[in-house]
Amino acid sequence: MSLRTLPLLFINLGGEMVYILDQRLKAQVIPDEKAKKVLHDIVSTMFNRRFMDELFKPQELYSKKGLRTVFDRLAHASIMRLNTASMDKLYDLMTMAFKYQVAMSLTPRDVLLVTLNHIDAIQSFVAESPVISGHVDNVYQLLITNYGKLSIGEFQLIRQTLLNFFQDMHIRVSIFLKDKVQNSNGRFAISTAGMVPYGSEPPGIIRMFSTEGEHVKTASFPSGGNYTYSMQQGSIELQGNRCTQLGTNMYAMNKPFETTISVPAPQQPMSMDKNSQNPLAKAELNLLAQLIGTLDEKAAASSEFRLNLFRTDEEEEQAQALRPADLHAQVIQIDARCGGMDGELAKIMGDMKVVEQAGTANSSKGDDLLNLMDSTQ
């Protein structure tokens, strides 16, 4: 499995989160100023330079629980509050959307184009803030440096690592069901028509060669589908044409989206998995916790609002009631006292302050969050 997968997973899921939150903020008619603050806070935390530098180091993927915790905290990086049912729904939508984008990529390299589509869109959400915009540019440069010259084989390994991570997730998303992109059994529809990857040939031709190497005979056969050539290769330039719709904002058309779990998943035993032993993963989660912190309480009390991922409060309450009780107890055990923590990273964390705009969080409140993340069982 590839060790370069984590940044792509994090950035793309973060991008989907921003799309969904933007749509819900509009649907709930949250005042512009508050909505903007939420998105700006989340993007600036997500793309914090130190955190990105750590993220881009070669490492294994976080566990599913670990990644879910990261996004739980990220979603609460601002004045917005989500209850657990809404957070579940947000995460389900994010993961199924990215799974779809990875599975349907024409070529493995398209995973990079999907990421750049997300980056392009995030840039447009934060264009008013030069500081945050600078962070997004920095991430674009990191992506090009780290992924711009990878071979097809390396991209396929990354894509397989991602598909492995998403294996057996079959949550039905109404926006996908409506567009016939997903079947009622949760599987994505694979079309037998459309473009072949750039540089490939539509199936249906057999060419025979003589002993001298000359092309002497051509035969054709039914390809079973209806395929055409790709005319252009997606560009990774800053303003380039990505040539794929995967990774663009599918909620921009204001369609409603619901999720239903297609098959009740058997409850997994809540054991420590190997990634919670990974010192780098723990250190990064701690760093993120420090960056997010909690808001100055006075400011928070007046600005906080609750976002609902469902259509009505009643729906949300019903979903909350249906959640299995023991899910509330799922906390990642992260022991920051262990000696495995990287000394360099501890020094970075000690120096960290989130100073983007006046009145935002600083790390003194981060301890509360750290305590939350260290469970006592």
Partner: protein
Amino acid sequence: MKYCDYPSRSLMVMACQRGIQVYDADGSVMLYWHSLVPPSSDEVSASFARGISTFQDCMLCIGTDSGNILIFDVPTRGANIVLREMLKGHTAPISCLFNKEDLLGSGDDSGKVVVWQHDVDSNSIQVLTTIDIQGSPCSSVLLWEELVIVAYASGLIRVFNVLGRLHAEVAAHARWITAMDVAPATGLVLSVSEDSFAKIWQLKSEDTVEIEHKASECVQDVQLCGCRFTSVNGSSFCVTGYDLAEVICFAAK
């Protein structure tokens, strides 16, 4: 993972991140472990093993991400598996291996294919042919009669002879070809792809070398990842797919 059948035993071999594990036939006892990284290293390593094949009924071949192919001697019984040599013919990660008698075919992520030959007298393995067509990773390689059949990530299948001459090229699939198999008795070739199709081809190698399309099966909405003929003459086969818990079997009417 692959079951490797030898005249006197079967082994279950797993090519993993960081190393290779060899088990007995029912997977209950680990007989041998080969690490691709130095044992003292705790650091994250990108090394992996990929591509497994028997060779000449007494050796085990495993490809690695460095491009080297590890050759192990396998005894008729017991756990005394020994690394005998490393074949260095590739610089890109190995993607697939295939053995037929004294020939071993290897493909890599750059698109290069090497055919190796084992000389029984000198007990040495040498390069017979190199087929270096860059541009698209080689995802599967087969050997049948005097032919080398190579599947590529671009959806192409090419048929060469063992000396490297190109006989035919097929635009076979619309996506990455993930696996192939051959029925040695009849020259039927099976290819599966992420485009959800399984296709059957007939190879002919009498006067001229030809390849002909025989059948296509679409497994709706499934990106196929693996395939195998389940009969020697190729009249039945099975496929597997991403996110699919079932193995789907087909048989000729």
